[in-house]
């Protein structure tokens, strides 16, 4: 029965997750654009999830803790993204002394 636990050592997966976390961290620290910072944070959270799933699969595949926690992380990330993007839109609107024409031209 082939499985990833035999084919790929756990440290590889964890190193991948660590690298992804650091790339996301760099993105969050270096971007000027608010959306860009959010993109970096999403990458960090994905790295965490890789870690959790790897721990579940390699260390205790018959316990669901790692997977459920990863699901909660996804939930939180989605909620944070929703509020964050709502705020970006609100700030943009307030800043632009709302030029209806410009905003609308992107919609149609």
């Amino acid at each position: 029965m082939p499985s990833i636990t035999e084919a790929v050592p756990l440290p590889w997966v964890l190193t991948l997750a660590g690298a992804l976390f650091c790339v996301g961290l760099f993105g969050a620290l270096s971007r000027r654009n608010t959306v860009g910072i959010l993109l970096g944070i999403e990458l960090m959270l994905n790295a965490v999830n890789i870690n959790l799933v790897a721990f579940w699969r390699y260390l205790e595949p018959n316990v669901v803790a790692g997977q459920t926690f990863a699901l909660f992380v996804i939930t939180v990330a989605a909620a944070e993204a929703a509020v964050g993007l709502a705020m970006i839109i609100a700030i943009y609107r307030a800043r632009q002394t709302v030029n209806a024409d410009e905003v609308d031209s992107l919609r149609g």
Binding site: M1, V53, R57, D104
Partner: protein, 217 residues
């Protein structure tokens, strides 16, 4: 078979990391969001490789299907036209490079590599390993993870209320954004009024909120 999995893992890892690096470095923020989607897909594929099918599907549904689209919408709705020429990185981005690089090379790699992982023994040959799947996750949400499940529900409710409160503000306070249909109607009305109709100034559409609110239900 094992070599195949190793190769697949390396391919997925390359996709994830390369897309992530593109996400944080490309100039155009729309491209960055698209690279992010590619990275999300890579992570989803990795979950499937690790036999976490439910999470793989959730990853694609939520991250690729919802979060990315939300991000793209926000970019589209707020992008100012000269934005693509702006510098996207902070002037001292190389300082920002040092922190993650140090974290990675000094903390993460040494600890991960030297840690003595107590892996469970592989299952006896011919017998499939006991892996918890979607059914176990569902049962766990109703049993030992009942409280976090409820709290997550509250969290989503709060996020929904919050997003609505923030994004849909009272219209009388701020000049509201016309919908496309209203705007077309407004333009037509203006063109009828001033006959050799020049193209109406954008400002002209904006200063007449009373007419616009009249047509609103």
């Amino acid at each position: 078979m094992n070599t195949l999995i190793t190769v697949l893992f390396l391919i997925f890892a390359a996709i994830i990391l390369a897309s992530a690096i593109m996400t944080v470095t490309v100039k155009n923020i729309v491209h960055a969001a698209l690279w992010l989607i590619s990275s999300f897909f890579g992570v989803g594929a990795l979950y499937l490789l690790m036999e976490a099918e439910f999470l793989g599907v959730a990853q694609v549904l939520i991250y690729v299907g919802a979060v990315s689209i939300l991000i793209l919408f926000a970019i589209m709705l707020t992008r100012d036209l000269e934005g693509s020429q702006n510098r996207q990185l902070t002037p001292r981005w190389w300082i920002a490079l040092i922190v993650p690089a140090a974290l990675f090379s000094l903390l993460i790699v040494p600890t991960v590599m030297t840690h003595a992982w107590q892996l469970p023994p592989p299952p006896p040959a011919g017998q499939p390993p006991a892996i918890s799947g979607a059914q176990q996750i569902g049962a766990a949400f109703m049993r030992e993870y009942l409280l976090p499940f409820e709290v997550a529900a509250i969290l989503l409710t709060v996020a929904m209320i919050g997003a609505i409160v923030v994004a849909f503000e009272e219209r009388e306070r701020r000049r509201r954004v016309l919908t496309l249909a209203e705007q077309v109607r407004l333009r037509q009305r203006q063109q009828q009024r001033q006959q050799p109709a020049p193209r109406p100034e954008p400002a002209a559409t904006a200063v007449q909120p009373s007419e616009a609110t009249g047509s609103e239900t």
